[in-house]
Symmetry: C2
Subunit: 409 residues, 2 copies
Amino acid sequence: MSQFLNVVSPTEAIAIMSKNLSQVSSEIIDTDCSLGRVLSSDKVAEIQLPEFLRSSMDGYSVKASNTFGATEDLPAYLEVVGEIDMGHQVVPSISAGQAVTAYTGGMLADGADSVVMIEHTSMTGDGLLQVFRPVAKGENTIRPGEDFDFGDFIGKYGDVITTGTLGALLALGIDKVEVYRQLTVGVISSGDELVAPGVPTKLGQTRDINVYTIAAQIEKLGMGHVKFPLVEDNVESLQSAGMEALESCDALLYTSGSSLSSRDLTSQVIQSLGEPGVIAHGISVKPGKPTVLGITSGKPVIGLPGNPVSALTVFDFVVDPILRHISGRKTLPYQTVTAILQTDLPSERGRTDFVRVALKEIESSLTAVPIWGKSNSISVFSETVGYVQVSSEQSGLYKGTKVKVRLDV
Amino acid sequence: MSQFLNVVSPTEAIAIMSKNLSQVSSEIIDTDCSLGRVLSSDKVAEIQLPEFLRSSMDGYSVKASNTFGATEDLPAYLEVVGEIDMGHQVVPSISAGQAVTAYTGGMLADGADSVVMIEHTSMTGDGLLQVFRPVAKGENTIRPGEDFDFGDFIGKYGDVITTGTLGALLALGIDKVEVYRQLTVGVISSGDELVAPGVPTKLGQTRDINVYTIAAQIEKLGMGHVKFPLVEDNVESLQSAGMEALESCDALLYTSGSSLSSRDLTSQVIQSLGEPGVIAHGISVKPGKPTVLGITSGKPVIGLPGNPVSALTVFDFVVDPILRHISGRKTLPYQTVTAILQTDLPSERGRTDFVRVALKEIESSLTAVPIWGKSNSISVFSETVGYVQVSSEQSGLYKGTKVKVRLDV
C-alpha cells in the first residue's frame, strides 16, 4: 500500500472526522460532582435568585423616605421594633419611623425598602436609632431575581461546567444535571523495538512512552482512558486488540512504531476494523505527517506517529479537537500568550508546522525560544511550554516576529 | 471581640502563613499515575537517552565518507549486507562500500556513522544500492545522550509533573517517583440561614454553595477535599467539626454566614482550636476583607467570607498560594492575557481590589469587561473568566488602560 495516498491539512482532518462523528449520549449526574463535565442542554433559571429582597449589609432595614435629609448633625431618629434572625421565617413589619435589625444575606422587614449600614448609625441613651446618612430606595439590598431571574441562562449546551456554573446551578436548587457521558479513549501501543517502562532495555530496545503521554493528555481533557498492553507489530495482534478496545471505548488511538512498515500496518489494521475505515492517510503537518485517520462503527480510530513529540503534537492539534467534538464540548479557544520569536523558523508552503518553544523574559520582552537540535525527542516536550504555529500559507517566520504561543494548559 | 484587629495585605497574609507552615511529607508512587503531582526532589537522568546511536529516518546506515560527492547523475554505489530488525540485538557490521537497512528509531550497523534516507536511494537491477545525495557524519541519527545525558535534569523539586516530565521519566526507566503527598483540604460550612442545595428553601433561607465552589477550586488544584455536613452557627458545633476535620485533613477552611456575628464566631473557633490560633484578622482586599487566617498544630485554618464571590476571590488570591506552598509546588505564574479595560475601576489606596471581568473582542481589541450591579452574586462568577487586579498603590484604573487579566484556568 502506498503511503500518503490522501494527505489532508489539519483543518480538513478535523472537519472530515467531525462531520462523520456524532456526540456521545448524555447522562444525569449530581451537580456537586459535575466540575469539568459538559452540559448536554441549555440550563436556565427556573426560580429567582435571591428569592427574596435580601440585605447586602449588616444594619437596619428601613423605609428610605424616613432617612432623607439625615446628616451627622441632624440624624434621623427611628424606633427599632425587632430583628430578623438569619434563616427564620418570622418577618416583622415596620411602619413609618420604624426600623428592624438586618443581617448581610438576610431578609428585610415587611414594609422596608432599603438597609442603613450599621456604621452609619448609633443608639441613643434611651434606645432610639440615630441614622447619620440617607439611603436611597433599594440601597444595600439585592432585589429578587437580581442575581438570576426566571429564564436567565446558567449555561448552554456544550459549555464545560466551571466552578461558577456549578455554584450557580446549586444556588438555584439544581442538584442533578444532564451532561454528556464522559468519553473513554483506548490507547494501543505496538512496536517490536518497544518495552514497557519498568523493564530493563536490551541493546536496540526503547521504552514505550507514547501510551503514557497520550493517556496523560486524555486525562488533562477530563476524559477516561484505557491503556492496552503493548502488542506485537502484526496485523492479527493489532486487530484483535483494536476489536477488544472498540467494545468498551468511544475512540481508539494506535501509537505504533515509527518505521514505514509500522505505519503501513496501522492503516491496514484500521481499514480492517470496519466501515468506512481509513478516511485520510497522512496530514500535511510537521511533525506528525504519518498519521492515519479512520472511523469504525461511528468511532474515531486514529494511528499516531511513533515519534513521541510527533504523537503529542498530532494529539494536541488534531485528536484533541475531534475528541472534544464527540464529547459534546464547544471547542474553546486555547490559551495563548504573545511573544517575540527568538530565531527564524523556516517552513514550507502547504505544510503547517508546530514548533515547541520555551518562554523566556529577554530584555523585558516575553520571548519564544524554539528548542532545536534534539530530533524531536521527549526532552523537547519537557523543556518547553507550548507551540508556535507556522501556517501553511507561510514559508516560515522571521526572528523578531510577534507570535502567539499556544500553552500546554 | 473587635473586628479587624490586625488587617494585613494579601501579600503579607501569604507570607506570614507560609513562613509558619511547612510542606507535607512525600511518598513514592507509580510514575504512570503521577500527572499533576509535585516532585519532592530533583530528578536527573541516570542513563543516556537514546541508549544507542539511533536512526531518525528509514533508510540505510552507511559510512558517511562513502557518500561524499554523490549526486543524481553520479550516485554512490553500495552493497546492502543486511538489515537490523527493530528491537533485535543482532547487529551486522559494515566495511567500506557497504550499507545495512535502517529503520526510524532503530540501531545503525557497527561501523556506520550516518543514515541515508530511503527517498535518496534506489536499487539497481543487480541489487546494488544507489545513493543520490551525500550525508554528513551523524546525519539522520540521534547520538547516545542527545535527548538526555547522564545528570541532565528531568525536573526539579517543586515542579508539577507535566505530560513531558512523565514521558521523560518513563523513557529513562524511572517507573516510580517520589512526590509530595497529595493534600486533603477540609471544608466546613455553617450559617443558620443556609440549607443544602437539594433541599427546598423556606422564606429567608439560602442554599449553601460555598462548600461546593470551594471544593471545586481545590479539585482544580489537584488536591483532595472533604466536605463536612453543614453545621449550626455556634462555637461548640464549629469547634467539634473543626477538631474532627483536623484529624484527617492537612488544611481546614470555614465558610460561614456573612453577618458580623458569624465572622466573630469563626475567629473565636479558630482561636480555640489550638496554638498559635488566629494570625490575622481581616485582609485589605475587596471583596474578601472579613477573612480570618489561623494556624493550628502546623495546619492552616482559614475562615472565608460568606459571600460566594468574596469566598472564591480570597481562595484564588490567598488560600491557593498557601495551599500550593504546603503542597510543595513552586508557585508558578498564573495564566494571564492582556486586555483593554472597558470602564473606569475606582478603588482606594491601601486596598487591593480584584474585579471579575468577561473578555470580549471589541473593535478587534481584546477588552476586559467588568461585571457590575450584581452585588457580588454567583452569576458574577459564572459570567466572567478572570480577574483584573487594582493594586493597593493605585486609587483606581482608568478606562482604556492595558490590564493583565488573570484567567480561571
